[in-house]
Assembly symmetry: C2
Amino acid sequence: MHANPVLAEALRGNWVENRHRGAFILVDAEGAVIASGGDTERPVFPRSAIKSMQALAIFDRHAEEKFHHSQEELALACASHHGEDEHVSGVAHFLGRMGLSAADLECGAHMPTNSKAREALRAEGQPPSPLHNNCSGKHSGMLSVALAMGVPTPGYVEREHAVQQAVRDAVERVVGEKLSEDRCGIDGCSIPTWAAPLRAWALGFARMATGRHLDERQAAGAQALFDAATSHPHLVAGTGHLDTLVMAAFKGRVMQKGGAEGVQCGAIRHKGWGYALKCDDGNMAASHVMVAALLLKYADPDAAQRAVLEQFVRQPIKNVRGNAVGELRAVREAI
Amino acid sequence: MHANPVLAEALRGNWVENRHRGAFILVDAEGAVIASGGDTERPVFPRSAIKSMQALAIFDRHAEEKFHHSQEELALACASHHGEDEHVSGVAHFLGRMGLSAADLECGAHMPTNSKAREALRAEGQPPSPLHNNCSGKHSGMLSVALAMGVPTPGYVEREHAVQQAVRDAVERVVGEKLSEDRCGIDGCSIPTWAAPLRAWALGFARMATGRHLDERQAAGAQALFDAATSHPHLVAGTGHLDTLVMAAFKGRVMQKGGAEGVQCGAIRHKGWGYALKCDDGNMAASHVMVAALLLKYADPDAAQRAVLEQFVRQPIKNVRGNAVGELRAVREAI
C-alpha cells in the first residue's frame, strides 16, 4: 500500500521519536480541491467527526418541527461532550422534554472525559450514567428523530432501525455518494459507522457550509446546526478541548469536530470550504497537530485565533517530573 | 523518508481503520540477520526496553559485589513495574538495605500502572510516591552503582553524572557502538536516553543472551540479569502484562521487555538471538501485536506459550457497551 506522508512527528531531545502519517483534503462545494496530501480516496471511518452531518436527519424527518430543538440541543446533538455539568444537565433536559430519560439511551456509559467531572463522580462514589457518554447528545437527537417518525425507540442504534436508515440517507445525500455494507462497522456508542473517502467527507462539509447541492430543508438544517455548534462551542466538546477553543476563537467562521482514531472534519465557513483529515495510526493528539496546521494555513486566522491554533500545532512532551523533554509538532511543509 | 511496512492494523467491522508501521530485526550474536523488516538502521530511542542492558553497570562498577543484589532486586532493576504491592515493597526494601529511601529517587512520582493499585491508593486518599514510578527499581539499581563508585547520589539522573556515564559505557560496550549526543533525549524518568539503530539493540540482546563478544564480567552480569528477570517475571512488569505473561510462559527461554512509545526488545535465549522492534507511531498495543507475531514465528512456542502470544497478536476492540466491534491484529505476512 502506498504510504501517506508524515504530517506530524514527536521529537525527544534532538531526535525524532515517533512519526504520524495521514491524509487531508480541503475542497469547495463544487469539489474543487484547494489542498490535499496523501490518499484521499481511501475510505475512512469518520466516527464522531460527522455528528453534525448525522444530525441532519433531525431536519429531514421533521423532528425539528415537532420538538423545536433549542440551539443548545442542536449543539449537543453535534457533540462529543466531556460529561461536565452543563453537558449532563443539558442532555437530561433534552430527553425530559421529549418524555424520555437516560434509560432510553443505548450508547452505554463511560466515565466523563473531563478530569474534574470524573473526580467529582468518583468522590460521590457514583458510577457513570449514559448521560456522561460523550455521545449522549447525539443519541438524544436520534431519539427525537424516532419520535418524529413514530417508530419505537428501542433498538434505534441498530443499522436496520428506521432512525439509522434516516441518518444514513441524510449522510449519503450530503456527501453525494452511497455508503456501503462492504465498509461498515459499529461505533463506540453502538451506532453504525460507514467508511468513505476523505474527499467525500470534506465535500459534505463544504456543502453544509454553503447549502450548495443540498435541498432546501438540508441547507437550512446545516446552517442551523453549524450556527448552533459554533455559538455553543463548549457544549460540542468541553473545557480546554481543541474543538471548543477553535470554534470559540473563530466566532462562527470555523466549524470543527474531531472523531475517534485521529479524524478531524469541519468547514471554513466564510470561504465555503470543507476539510477532512485522518491520522493513519489513529493518534488523536497527532490529528490535533495536523488540523491546527491546516487551519493556520487556510482559515485566515487573526492573532487571537493564531494563538489558539499554535497551542495545538506544537505540543510539549513532558517527563514524569513535568519537565518538557520534547514536542509533538506538525510537519508544516507537508500541510 | 522511506516508509516502513504496515506491521499491525486495526479492523472495525469489515474495514481497516488504523495502520501501524514499524521495523523489526532478529539477529544472532555475530550480527547475522535471522529476519528483519523496514529500516533497521534508523536510530530509535529504546526507552525502557533496555533496562536490563543499563543494569549491566551494576556489575561493571562492582555494585553487585558490594550489595549482593538478590534476584528480586535485579529483576526490579530491569523492570517497568506496575506499582503493585510486591513492587513497591520490593523497591522500598532494596533502597532501605542501602541506607536510602524514596526521597533519594529522582524519577518523579506517578500513579501505579496497575488499576487495582491505583484505586487502592485513591481510596486511601494518598498521592503516589516515587516508589510507584514504574522505573523505581531501575533507579534503585543506579543508586547502588553510585554508592559502589563512591560518588554523591544527588543528580544521578543527569547525563554528566558518573552513574549515567557508567550506564552509557555499559550500553556502548554491549551494542558495540558509540552513542551520540546528536541523538539524545531525556526519558520519562529523567535519565538520558540515546537513539541507536534497531540492529544495534538487537545485537546487544543477542550478546547478552550468549555472552559472546562481552567481557567476563558483563557476560556473567547479563546472564544474572536475564535469569533474574525471567525467574521473576511479575516483578518486571505486572499482572496481565505481555512481558510478565510471556516470560512466565517461556520459563527462562525468552527475555522480553517493552519500552515506551512502541519499542520491544528481548532475546530468544535458547537460540542465542536478540530482537528489537519499534512501532513508528509509538502505539504500545500495536507493538505488543508485533512482538507477539515475532515470537510466534521465531521462538518455537509450545501450545501454552502459543496461547499466551495469541492473546496479544489479535486483540479485540470493544465499544462502550463492551461488545467486540473490531480487532487490532498483526499483519502476519509482514513479520
